[in-house]
């Protein structure tokens, strides 16, 4: 263990964890009773309104990546790093019009995989599933790791135990309640996150001296104030395109589109993006104060929790602990539910057991949640790399899906060859840049390559896609 400076006692940490765990599992069980059909379990009955929709979008996007990675960005890349992280809001804002289009084209759709299969056919679908499941799993691992790191740094709870507890709690309530539980708990979690961030923000503004922070940064870390720090200049558009790729392709966001009522989707994504926008700036700023406050940072991904907890003292640390626990749980549950939906619908139902009943699928979905949780736990145990290392490895893969998805939704001429070639070429070139230049160029290069390839193939081999094919149930009835 490299950090010996715990902020609260393990006993206090356990009390907070136990209280929140009982609350989430209890609510998951309560809301789960409403999920009687498969549509109810997977898509919360397809009637989620604007308030719940906005809350679940915002809470899911305020992940450990916002509360822990945004400060890491500021600490490593300075002012531009902070701005770079907040550009991820554009992913949600840009997805808002797509949400309306998706709901109109696929009124009874289930997953993002459904769209790729119906739009581009089986080979593109398999490639997309590989990318999407890999990304979902990497995100899940980064969340599990973040939970363990957080509990260890703040309360001295051993990493393995903290990580196991948060994974167990999220698996338990997702298992009981499906998307009903996920969206319901997201609502409460988003309120707790927002209240907590306001408390932390007010406290930091009262305690730190801005002139001193600026002066210390100029002396000790001058490049963090530089407007021409090369790595951070690259990171701005890299992070932006990574965020767009994450939202455009991931079933986390598509399942919410299918779960929301027709009118709520577009507005919920717009509002969620706008509410989320200032959060990484606020979270990132406090990292810049770490030097002036004399706080030693042993791991860059722990700078946010450590500074917030040190500024607020023991009582305030409990607020910090709750905010981080909520931000982790709200993303972990969404990932478990949406990745399980993707595997249940796209692999189990479509490839293994096409005649499976709703009851059978529900059982399969529960088992998949359990297996996902267990495998994530196994991979999290060795504590590989920092959060950024883990997460940004998937960057070029998801960025390569932006143009195949966007053109697939709006261009009749977009075709299978372009989608497959775009995803492969984007992923490969992005990976090459990941290993040769750094993570802050990988998504950017992946998205650019994919865009060029998709546009080229659309021009060379234009398709004439019939949009009605995307409404699978109606198409089947007609047939």
């Amino acid at each position: 263990m490299e950090h010996q400076s715990y902020i609260i006692s393990p006993e206090d940490g356990w009390i907070v964890i136990a209280g929140l765990s009982v609350l989430w599992i209890g609510l998951g069980y309560y809301w789960g009773r409403r999920a009687k059909s498969m549509d109810g379990y997977m898509l919360a009955g397809r009637r989620v309104g604007l308030a719940l929709g906005t809350a679940t979008v915002m809470a899911t996007w305020v992940t450990s990546n916002t509360t822990m990675l945004a400060p890491q960005f500021a600490l490593e890349l300075g002012i531009w790093g902070m701005i770079a992280y907040s550009t991820a809001a554009l992913g949600l804002l840009l997805f808002a019009p797509l949400a309306k289009r998706i709901r109109a084209l696929m009124p009874m759709g289930y997953t993002s995989g459904d769209f790729i299969r119906l739009r581009y056919g089986k080979p593109a679908w398999i490639l997309f599933l590989l990318i999407s499941i890999f990304y979902g799993f990497v995100w899940l691992i980064s969340m599990g790791m973040a939970g363990g790191i957080l509990m260890n740094a703040i309360a001295g709870i051993p990493y393995e135990i903290g990580m196991s507890v948060i994974l167990f709690v999220c698996v338990a309530y997702t298992l009981f309640g499906g998307l009903y539980a996920v969206i319901g708990t997201d609502y409460i979690q988003s309120l707790l996150i927002l209240i907590g961030i306001v408390i932390i923000g007010v406290a930091v503004f009262q305690i730190v001296d801005f002139n001193e922070i600026y002066s210390d940064l100029r002396t000790d870390k001058p490049m963090l104030l530089s407007a021409i720090l090369p790595a951070s200049i690259m990171a701005v558009f890299n992070n932006l395109l990574f965020g767009v790729g994450e939202v455009f392709h991931s079933n986390v966001w598509w399942s919410r589109v299918f779960a929301m009522s027709k009118k709520a989707g577009r507005r919920a994504y717009l509002l969620g993006g706008l509410i989320w926008l200032p959060v990484p700036v606020a979270a990132g700023f406090i990292a810049l104060a770490s030097g002036s406050l004399g706080i030693n940072i042993t791991r860059p991904d722990m700078v946010g929790p450590l500074v917030a907890a040190n500024v607020l003292g023991e009582a305030g640390t409990i607020v910090v602990f709750m905010v981080f626990f909520c931000s982790l749980a709200s993303s972990l549950d969404s990932l478990l539910a949406s990745t399980s939906d993707l595997i249940t619908q796209d692999i189990y139902k479509k490839m293994i057991k096409p005649d499976a009943s709703d009851g059978h699928l529900r059982k399969a979905s529960s088992r998949i949640v359990l297996v996902l949780g267990f495998v994530a736990w196994l991979v999290c145990l060795p504590r590989i790399g920092t959060l950024a290392d883990v997460l940004f490895f998937a960057g070029p893969l998801v960025a390569s899906t932006i143009w195949p998805i966007a053109t697939g939704l709006f261009w009749r001429k977009a075709n299978t060859r372009g989608a497959i070639a775009g995803m492969i070429a984007g992923s490969v070139t992005g990976m090459i840049f990941y290993f040769t230049v750094g993570w802050y160029s990988a998504s950017l290069v992946g998205a650019a390559t994919s865009m060029i390839v998709v546009v080229l193939f659309t021009h060379l081999y234009p398709a004439k896609f019939d949009w009605h094919k995307l409404d699978e149930k109606t198409a089947l009835t007609r047939a």
Partner: protein, 149 residues
């Protein structure tokens, strides 16, 4: 202090006091602290994470940074019980780091070379990213407008 471990760094006079007290005690053979990882490192983004091995469970460490090999004008960047520290925001140049615990001697120094990426590469990639983003926005806006019609 309200909490036993709240403060992760020690003030200069506190550290000197610890060193004085320890040096006045009968000498106990203790391993000299050493950094983990390579002795010569290069970074393209101006940050580095320094880690070191523990020499004793209650050891207090001091890490110094200098721009000269002989540590003529060192800056203490960390004092305390942790076994790692993170340095960022460094301009181009060569930096030297050394470490000691309250048992005495300095470790062998390690060298960090900071070579930021060229601005030409940074602006080229950022420009490419801006083009991809603007074209994506145009695609979505145009598609949505057409859909509305």
């Amino acid at each position: 202090m309200t909490f036993p471990y709240r403060t992760s760094t020690l003030a200069g006079w506190q550290f000197s006091l610890v060193l004085l007290l320890v040096s006045s005690l009968p000498s106990v053979a203790q391993e000299r602290p050493a950094f983990r990882g390579q002795d010569k490192r290069t970074t393209h983004d101006g940050h580095v994470r320094l880690q070191w091995r523990s020499v004793a469970s209650d050891a207090v460490y001091e890490v110094q940074q200098s721009t000269t090999h002989d540590f003529k004008h060192p800056i203490t960047i960390y004092q305390g019980p942790d076994r790692a520290t993170f340095v960022s925001g460094l301009p181009n140049g060569v930096y030297y780091y050394r470490l000691r615990s309250n048992s005495g001697g300095w470790s062998e120094p390690i060298t960090l070379t900071v070579e930021h990426y060229s601005l030409q590469l940074a602006f080229t990639l950022a420009g490419l990213g801006a083009v991809v983003f603007l074209l994506t926005v145009a695609l979505v806006v145009k598609g949505t407008a057409k859909d509305a019609q």
